[in-house]
């Protein structure tokens, strides 16, 4: 119960952060990826802020504890191998990101705008995920990423 409240709060803060940062503006995202044109470096600062806070939480607190505050074990990825699915998957994702200007979080948050691109993007994204689930049987390694 408590952990669900934390998840709800985290989702809420995540959405507000995406909106404040400019990640829910597809054209701005494309300008960020446009290194050879009118490059807008703003979104670099989103990564700086988010990675900064998360790295502190991980290295100063999480690493020193045997368990999380509300759970009995850590659910962190353990795989270290650089394999083809990782490379192909990231490459395919990047093409989609550059094409539409949406990544998964901002797409979902943008549903509230009620605009057609956001709805079409999320619908297609869910189809893409279901297609992946059908083509690839679960391997048991479910921890992300």
């Amino acid at each position: 119960m408590k952990s669900n409240a934390v998840a709800l709060l985290a989702g809420l803060l995540f959405a507000l952060g995406l909106g404040l940062s400019g990640m829910t503006q597809p054209d701005k995202v494309m300008n960020f990826l446009d290194f050879t044109g009118k490059w807008d470096a703003s979104l670099m600062f989103v990564m700086v802020g988010a990675i900064g806070v998360n790295a502190l939480a991980y290295h100063l607190i999480a690493k020193k504890r045997a368990t999380p505050l509300l759970g009995d074990r850590w659910h962190l990825p353990t795989r270290t191998q650089l394999d083809r699915p990782l490379l192909f998957g990231a490459a395919i994702f990047g093409v989609g990101w550059g094409l539409g200007g949406f990544c998964p979080g901002p797409g979902l948050v943008s549903l509230a705008s009620g605009t057609l691109p956001a709805v079409v993007f999320v619908g297609a994204m869910l189809v893409g995920m279901v297609v992946h689930a059908r083509l690839h049987k679960p391997t048991g390694a479910t921890d992300e990423p």
Binding site: P26, L99, V130, P145
Partner: protein, 142 residues
């Protein structure tokens, strides 16, 4: 530089980092959006409640943004067909590569995980290449 907004981007990033830290410290989990959605889509999982709660918060945050700051939502120059193809690629690619801008880009890079660093460099590179092809070679609207 075009519409450079480093301060709001940094503040937004701090909020996102706070959100991923909450999930990490309290639940011991990675707040990767594509992983959370992907897991939620598989019905036979016992852990779908927290996924639903997180996604509910995310959607609720979208509604709050619309009420408090509707200009947070921007337009896309891409035609709807391109947006649909983009969605398919993002959905399939993030599941195949086990993560997106949040799971790899934020959570993975801050540990840091080599897989996440390689994934981030890869999707930034193909994303930039795609924007280059669309804008420079096809002269798409920018």
């Amino acid at each position: 530089m075009h519409n450079f907004t480093p301060l709001s981007a940094l503040l937004g990033g701090l909020l996102i980092g706070l959100a991923t830290s909450l999930m990490l410290l309290f639940a011991g989990k990675i707040a990767g959006i594509s992983g959370i959605v992907g897991g939620f889509l598989r019905p036979a999982r016992e852990d779908s409640t927290w996924r639903g709660a997180f996604l509910g918060g995310l959607l609720l945050g979208g509604v709050a943004l619309r009420l408090a700051c509707p200009t947070a939502f921007g337009s896309t120059a891409a035609p709807l067909t391109a947006v649909a193809i983009a969605g398919l690629l993002v959905g399939y690619g993030t599941r195949l590569g086990n993560g997106c801008t949040s799971g790899h880009g934020i959570c993975g890079n801050s540990r840091p995980s080599l897989r996440s660093i390689v994934a981030t460099v890869t999707f930034m590179a193909t994303g930039a290449l795609t924007v280059f092809v669309v804008r420079r070679l096809f002269g798409g609207a920018s």
